[in-house]
Amino acid sequence: MAAARDERPFPPGDYPVVVVGSGPGGLQASYCLARLGVEHAVVSADERPGGMFRLYPIFERLLSWSKPDAPAERGTRAYEWFDHNSLLAEEPEHQALVPAFMDRSFMVPSRAEMEAGLAAFAERVPIRVRHGCRWEGTRREDDGGLVLATSDGEYRCRAAVFAVGTTTPWRSAIPGIEDVPHYVETGRPQDYESRRVFVVGKRNSGFEIADGLLPWARQIVLGSPRPVQTSVIALATVRVRYLQPYEDFGLGGGTFALDLAVERIERTGGGWRVVGQGTTRPGAVDLEVDDVIAATGFTTPLLDLPGLGVRTVSQGRIPALTPFWESQAGSGIYFAGNATQGAPGLRKHGVGASSPAVHGFRYNARVMARHLAETHLAVAAPRERVDPDGLVPYLLEEVSSAPELWAQKSYLARAVAADGTSEIVPLAAFVDESGPDAVAVAVEMNAEGDVYPAVYVRRGGEVAERLLPSHQLNDFRGPEYERELRAAL
């Protein structure tokens, strides 16, 4: 055992960059840094990649699709849009690995299929990880560098990438909630046979529990202050979890989704009492139930990072980040994976990015790695060049098929500078930061679900926005769009 441990890579010491975590966010960040030639260490408390998918096995099937057959050929860049779960790679043999493990019973992979795809990626690339090495604290040196204390010793680095997930159970401030099981402690569905169950929370995890208990429980009541945003959910991947219990609620099948500010939870002789006040519909609510489950979500384990100036949003659960996923406190503290949702982007029309999911944060990682390498290590990342004569068809092809733009609507953009250099950038950075004359295109969606291209032209430091019309088949390559885009340019 001791000999095996000695063979682990990345012993404590000095590295330009340290990546913490071996889930999809950490693996993708490491891959992207390596492609840029950035030397870095990867440490992880887990014993093998994808710990999240073993920690909470209630996630038996993912929400996001991977379509083994799709309008685009597997292994092409366009196919990435149809495969939301595989990590990105330049080499064809490392692309689209998750669909290769799917038995095609569903178009969303099972937990085991997802984990197999991640493990294959880490093994084949390969991504070297020092497993069994737990990050325990962080401090800043006088020279601006960071020191990460771990269970194996100290790592010094210029920049650190924290890909630690949003996996620590979080409870809202309700008296008595500390006594009830959290979502992660939920029993087997059959344990709730013929029982009345109150679920605190009406977001993903709350409805996931309700969905799982529908065939077993006598009654399910979900309660939280905010109403369910059905119009938003209808367009989101989480509808898989929401719609069945919500339909049961609508049809009077015994499930209730209450807009309720829960005031307290008390233990009774045989169960629990839940007391609260209605929000959308005012009035007192007093319920006797057999079980209460706190489906109140998760938080990013930041440990002592707030002491280094890392601020948070989302009621203290998520780090507040710049458009390049660096802590607003700056100075080399980056995030990858699910926590990149802490950089909200423009959120035009209230539409959020896909950063909490693999198909969003895998692209964030690629952009983040370039930014980190150029900003902190003076590494010149290569860029594509576009022939000026081909600019218009190039941009229209991008908004029609670029997976980065489709996955991260109003969030990532294809930017081409006047000298022809081309790259994927955070849209917020393009419109807010000064720079040379350039054009950026993004795919956007309004509250009605219409999808359309948006063009941002930066000239003399001023940015002008022009929205192009939507298209029935989302094909923006025709002459009408060429005219519109040329007019914008």
């Binding site: 401030a173 202050p225 006040q277 949003v313 009621q315 203290g316 507040a320 909200p344 035009k348 419109v431």
Partner: protein
Amino acid sequence: MSVNARDELVRSLAGLALFADLGDPALEAIADPDWERSFGESERVLRRGLSGGGLFVILDGEAAVEIPDGSEPRRLRRGDFFGEVSTLLVCKPTADVVARTPLHCLEIPGPQLEAFLLQYPHVTYRMLQTVTRRLRDLLE
């Protein structure tokens, strides 16, 4: 830590004149984590000429309204709101709003503003009072 953070947001909202008429259940409903925003110093919050923004209420920190005519930027502080014109009229903002300090805001997305204002008429009434005062100050 997380329990306090949620409670702090509700208490922060309760201390604003805009939400002074609301009870705890309504404040808890408004304290939506998806609506919470944090901006670094010098970061743009509302962008002149860009569509799709929302209504912002400052919970903590300072911002400035910057109009390209060169006039002195108007300072915004805790309790102030902005973005209502472009959101209600569905048009592009004519000024930038930039964080002058680390800024903590609540953003009500544009497509949800109508339902929000109808759901909380006391908030609507107080917003109307503020907007009317701004109009009076402009006319005087």
